[in-house]
Symmetry: D2
Subunit: 335 residues, 4 copies
């Protein structure tokens, strides 16, 4: 069984996914690529020997496209996902599922009307070996009932186009999803604390930020987002429960003793840090499609919830207030 | 040179300090002990072959008392410290210097009127080897300008008498002082976040708490205070600067590999965790007194500031609000 | 391009490799399986939808077999590898390439006569991320010229059929290959030191053993082999150079603080420890076959050298002497 | 109680011990100092306000000298220790107790004739917190019966006067004592393996060396001695038992993340590494003398045994052979 994949959006991450689906993932084949920029589409399609199709709509309807991967610009995700659902085709959508909560609700309704899951959202941390081990330990009661989590999400630097809202919309969104999943809980409020900004960033940017989240069960999460930390791409996460704590491991890296130091190299970018997670994510998705198993990855509900939370965080950043997070009632379909 | 020490307050920490001054510290000798409970005073005095004196006032004035150590109940500290200043005698006062900010101001005035430092406050973390190395690294620019600190202060459990305000007054007060010192900065506001309380605590207690502090320079500190964490006495501190981070080390402990685990024992109580810090603290204090050097340890100003901050934190806990911290102008005497 | 693979030997590791080639590796497909036990062959073939072929010779000659994977019993490897070379088909042979050095020489001659590399030996540690990082660091001069290496190879326990010679033939053979590769050097002598045996092993077994190896460049390697260590499958390796040391990392595993301990789980078996290495090994081999690139993995020379070293180690174990290791001159073909 | 100490040998370590006894140790006072170099003696005596005495014999007999500390040149230790025993005065002798085994036997006889312990040898590692925790864990059965130990003793560099025999006589002698104590066992043979020497040492020196020791119970210890390792003063020790392993911790040191690395500073010299151990060693010795407790530190037997072992190691280095270690029968006095 080899599933035919159509990819919409031939940017950096689109190219990565086409390479991955071609060279790493077994059971899938990229058959079609679409992008506004046709040259770009052609270049990426060539990696897989795929055809270029000149519109997302045609790609979704193409006979060689069994399933769709969306790596286009965030604001068009919702429309493209809805088109996939309308066509009854499985769709893997990079985050965000939608930039607007109302669109998210439409996706939930459409998928429920279809009657079975079609949508998976690209929150790859759920496929990282360290996070998965944390999840197993927490679920097995290894730290008792979770009460708190302390997280940090650090990048060496960001380009000038990065703006303050992206600290949650683009960056902490990964912690938003990872913590919802690790704690099996929903967020109910958010506050953003602004330390003095580092001098090593573009003037317009508020960096670092500390995002404070509260869950329905009363757990509290703090996420340091620091996208110009200079020294590396560094992801920290510690969950504190009633009887213990568990901490995300650093990547396994040789310790060198030399020149009066003992230390190890810190990874410099997220593709390196989460390369294996991306592989596992797409392989498990492909395996689901090639089997009778229902999709098990992040759902449309997870995508919708992340959007509601991160949009609230942007309002919290702007207002300085504690902002309530209001989700619609969770449909039994997504239980 | 052996300095004669009078100790006021023969409780647990008083007994510890008498033993330490007798058996560990060189250059000091406990000559007199005072306590409301005369039997207790006699028992502790016997450790050092010291006399029992039946009132703090008489002890402070005693000819064999060159310097005073105060380990009495917090609410009487200010009065006893003021009496020492009036007598012109150096005084080492366990924290808190004072429970009331107004008394703190009186101490500042009295010491300035005396014209040289007499007061040192027992914030022993400044003498812990790990914190000292952090301070050196930060001062040497090893992480760039500090922007944030993430701290945790965990106890296995506390007795029923422990109340919610003590989370800052008694517990996080150590982080309050340590961070003022590490960052060389003053706090300007405080907020207390309340996660769901652990089920493993007395009903009346809010535990854990997360204390959020802001400094004059705009740094943000979060302190998890969790005094019924069950698993150990665990102190965590990470300072994040513009170019890097530095983390307080765990105590050096052998790693055992056995029974499918690799791990090390976590210390269970603060006297074990900070035993060496207490030794260094009292030895350096004694050495200052036996030399021409001015006192270098935590000053009356540090004690006053800690009181203002922790009292504000209690109000923040009660109100749920962000509470401003207002210190008097720092006298040049304490520059 | 999908290469057709014939597998000889449907035991445990054969089944693993068929599953891997079917479900994980891209670009390869198992088309035929052979085993003395036809039921076993049928069971394993079914994983891949492959045919059962009733002799290794026929399998090697089969038109659907582009390349061969040998996972049969060690003593028949040489004969099967020679048959593959005679057929001009690439062959991936699990270690040992041969149990007898003379057979190894025949393989070297046959492959040279063929004129290009056909043989790769299954030393999977060269594909482990930790070892690869060590290799990069050493090759980049990160520890200076290597002088020593300290290794440990520990298993929780072994079955009664394991005998003392297997400590090097089956177990330390991985360190023999990994160190030849890490140091880019050949061994010239071996000695085996016998500590008192653990009480927790079958009576006939000498366990642990310490294998001392000397290289042509004068480096010294000590390998603790301890196959009944009880607590886990634990691989340690530290290379000491003229200016520093580098140590193989433990697998990245969350640290749990709980019950007065801070620690992490130790892996219990080698398939877990080296799962990713096995995947990378077969994927890179497949990629080589599907491209114009020459084979880059462990060669027939590496397999021959490992056999000479481990056979000498068995003589050293038996004699208690330092045994010289005598390799034939290395052909330029294997430079 | 303050014990009067006479110190013989005012070199570097003598000066260190006088400072320590004066400024750190409680219950002792240096009253007299002797050295061939009278100026040097005067300088060191001044630290403590002690008298200079112009011969070791007079110092030992001096009325103000209750106990003696020997920090003179190794070859004269035995004679000076014997003089202390003859005078019935406790003596703390820096290692080696004696350079010659026959002198060691004379000391054992003289001390037994005296009827109670007078001699303690300066093996300070037994007072290091990390080693003490290892000892507790091993004695409590935390790793099962010990089978092996892997050690490394590394210095950044040594002066030209350091010769190859000193690798065991001066350097590995600490591991010899520490392992005898940790394992509660005696050594029965020694072999020295010579890796290619580092290019970064004086030409005459064999560096590194690997010392292989066998105990009466059959445990095997390997000690890497590498005294020009360039990067730091680094002490490693792992004991492997039947059910687990325990490893000496690195000193507690803050981890800094910065400049693409995460790491900590490595100590550069042994006085920094073992400062606290030296303090504890002399304090416990002083406390023994000021109490009714018998001496508990390393005994004359320990000093004698270390000399026999290290002298055998030098013969092993020279001969390349496995050299038997033959101790006299251990007197019940030293049980
Ligand atoms: Mg594919
Ligand atoms: Mg004293
Ligand atoms: Mg395949
Ligand atoms: Mg003293």
């Amino acid at each position: 069984m080899t599933i035919g994949i159509g990819l919409i959006g031939a940017g950096w991450i689109g190219e990565e996914h086409v390479s991955r689906l071609t060279n790493v993932i077994t059971g899938a084949r990229v058959t079609a690529v679409s992008d506004i920029d046709l040259d770009r589409a052609a270049k990426v399609a060539a990696i897989a020997g795929a055809r270029v199709i000149d519109s997302p709509e045609k790609l979704i309807d193409d006979a060689e496209v069994d399933a769709v991967v969306i790596t286009s610009w965030g604001p068009v995700h919702a429309e493209q996902v809805l088109a996939c659902i309308a066509a009854g085709k499985p769709v893997f959508c990079e985050k965000p599922l939608t930039t607007d909560a109302a669109d998210g609700l439409r996706i939930l309704e459409a998928e429920q009307a279809h009657g079975s899951r079609l949508v998976q959202v690209g929150f790859m941390r759920r496929y990282d070996a360290g996070y998965r081990q944390m999840k197993q330990i927490i679920d097995a009661g290894g730290v008792g009932a979770p009460l708190m989590a302390h997280c940090a999400h650090r990048n060496p630097s960001v380009p000038e186009s990065y703006h303050s809202g992206m600290a949650t919309l683009d960056t902490a969104v990964h912690e938003v999803d990872a913590l919802r999943w690790l704690l099996d809980d929903e967020f109910v409020s958010v506050q953003v604390v602004k330390p003095r900004s580092t001098s090593k960033r573009f003037e317009h940017l508020t960096d670092p930020q500390i995002v404070l989240l509260e869950t329905a069960a009363g757990a509290r999460i703090d996420v340091e987002v620091f996208v110009n930390c200079q020294y590396g791409y560094d992801i920290q996460c510690e969950v504190v429960g009633e009887t213990g704590t568990v901490r995300l491991p650093d990547p396994a890296t040789p310790v060198v003793r030399g020149a009066a130091q003992a230390g190890f190299a810190v990874v410099q970018d997220f593709p390196s840090r989460f390369a294996a997670a991306f592989d596992v994510e797409l392989q498990e998705w492909t395996d689901s499609l090639n089997s009778d198993r229902a999709l098990a990855g992040p759902s449309a509900w997870d995508g919708y919830a992340a959007t509601v939370v991160t949009n609230a965080a942007v309002r919290a950043l702007e207002s300085g207030q504690i902002v309530p997070i209001e989700l619609t009632e969770r449909p039994a379909f997504y239980a």
